[in-house]
Point group: C2
């Protein structure tokens, strides 16, 4: 017979987890728990997912997902009582939004909590690529400064100034706007942008380009900050890379598939663009092996959102959204279609 | 017999070089030449320096130096006709300024041309240390993301947010002010500073600390941007590092000797401070070997001033100052004591 404490826990409403959320590994599951709900972990079952859901999940009203958890109509059909999806991601491209809307499933995202960190990472990657910080660090740590002389070797100085650079931002949402502010106000760059719609010029003074290729042709660096949609998939293609040109740099903190990765790799290897700072890839965690040897390419493992401070805020928001849902209170960060 | 062209070159006024300037190696000597003067290169002679100067340099009126060329009374005694020193450095700590003043020798420095690049490098190093960009890059390039999982491993998330951090700037000159602008306006940090004198608060709104230790106690990161003087030598000592504390970060784009390097290395190894981004060292190009293995330490080889764009501007300024001197025109960037 279950103890009263166990029975009390078993009576708590369930929050379904399909995959192990990365945030649990990175920051600790204990930060995401609450006395007001308990987790139902599909990934700990030996059953196939559909059998597990058929056996356990027909009464589940809440689902917690990360960026990696794809939720389409098939899963939703197995969860007829589902009313809320809370995601640890700011982007929602893993969710079938139309199906959620049709079924009346509300969505709470991580909202704006990552924007500053992602913007910082974009600027950090850009400075690193232009000034070769990671490559210099490796050079010094290998002991080459004392034995081989100044980095870079040879007469071709491959460190470039940030001031005055023309920055093209693809996707001027919350992250893009923060990147723009840092680079224009802080570093004296000039900013232009592409996005679905031109922003109100009274609020957003940067020049708008309807066409990414044209933006690239007028930029020294393209910084990708857009969501992944059918419109932005491979938005940076062969023609855009050619327009960016031999002195141009790509920074991607959006999603890997916003770029035609194969074509970008070819351009980097053949010197058709100058460098890249990449936090995201088309087939993560697999990274094209050609990039591993290039000093003008800086790679980070989709960690633009990962800081101790943002994880603390995420935990507060996830627990708060789920507790609010189960208490019939307004969600803290409900996503609304625009 | 010399050809007319050779004779014409030999009649040009001489600009003495004691050491091979780094800028010649990095950017190319051809950018620093002029039809109005010629270089007299002591470093190409097999004679000891004093013999070379006694034999060749008694009529030399102009000297071109870099940061590495120490010029004291001994050298100046051998150059009685010297009237101008042009340096490729912004700092003047290699020159005996009192002796130069006493002898009426004018000085033209690189002025403000490096400030933006150095400030960019300081911010880049700070982001790198907080967000572990170089360490992540190495992790991904070693293929560990696909084989070992997310970086950082384990439950202790060691990536930190920049927003809201308390930045203490030591030396609020041209570089320090540009660092302050980037971090406060661009990234939402709060800035305080220490310098020889408190600035006019109408022009400089940041809180002033007379004492570096007290600044450190109230900062998450100390960014060193001061010149090296007897007052600033080892300004960051054991007590300051202890005041900065276990969560604190040091960024040094000033001079290595502003920090007690041995003590800083001990603090980094023993976890008494959180990390460091270092462009300068006490005994360059020798870097303490204890730093080579630390993921929370980012090293660059005194390259904060090195960009293609700043080298182009330097060449314009060096040639312009020397041509102006030989034409009895005002120097482009004359140093004046304050």
């Amino acid at each position: 017979m279950a103890s009263p404490a166990t029975a009390a826990v078993e009576n708590l409403p369930q929050v379904l987890l399909l995959l192990h959320p990365a945030a649990f590994t990175i920051f600790g599951e204990e930060h995401f728990t609450s006395p007001k709900f308990r987790f139902l972990k599909a990934y700990e079952s030996s059953l196939p997912l559909d059998e597990f859901l058929a056996a356990n999940a027909r009464s589940v009203r809440a689902l917690l997902v990360s960026a990696a958890t794809v939720v389409g109509a098939g899963i939703l059909d197995l969860l007829p009582e589902l009313r809320v999806i809370v995601t640890t991601s700011a982007g929602l491209d893993q969710l079938d939004l139309a199906e959620c809307r049709r079924r009346g499933i509300r969505i709470a995202s991580a909202g704006d909590i990552y924007s500053a960190d992602v913007a910082d990472c974009a600027v950090g990657l850009l400075i690193d690529v232009l000034r070769k910080i990671s490559a210099s660090n490796r050079y010094v740590k290998n002991g080459f400064w004392a034995t081989k002389g100044d980095y870079p070797l040879g007469s071709k100085l491959c460190l470039f100034q940030l001031r005055g650079k023309r920055i093209g931002i693809v996707g001027l949402g919350r992250i893009g706007l923060q990147v723009a502010k840092r680079l224009q106000q802080g570093f004296g760059c000039t900013v232009s942008y592409n996005s679905r719609k031109k922003k109100n010029p009274d609020q957003v003074p940067y020049p708008f380009y309807q066409d990414v290729r044209e933006l690239a042709a007028n930029s020294d660096a393209l910084i990708l900050c857009c969501g992944l949609t059918e419109q932005t998939r491979h938005a940076v293609d062969k023609e855009v890379l050619a327009a960016l040109g031999k002195a141009g740099v790509i920074v991607n903190v959006a999603r890997g598939a916003v770029v035609d990765e194969k074509e970008m790799v070819r351009c980097l290897v053949e010197g058709e663009i100058a460098g890249a700072g990449l936090d995201v890839f088309e087939d993560e965690p697999v990274v094209p092996k050609e990039l591993m040897e290039l000093d003008n390419v800086v790679l980070s493992p989709h960690s633009a959102v990962l800081t101790r401070e943002s994880m603390m805020e995420l935990a507060r928001l996830v627990v708060g959204n789920l507790e609010a849902f189960f208490s019939n209170e307004p969600l803290l960060s409900e996503y609304e279609d625009d």
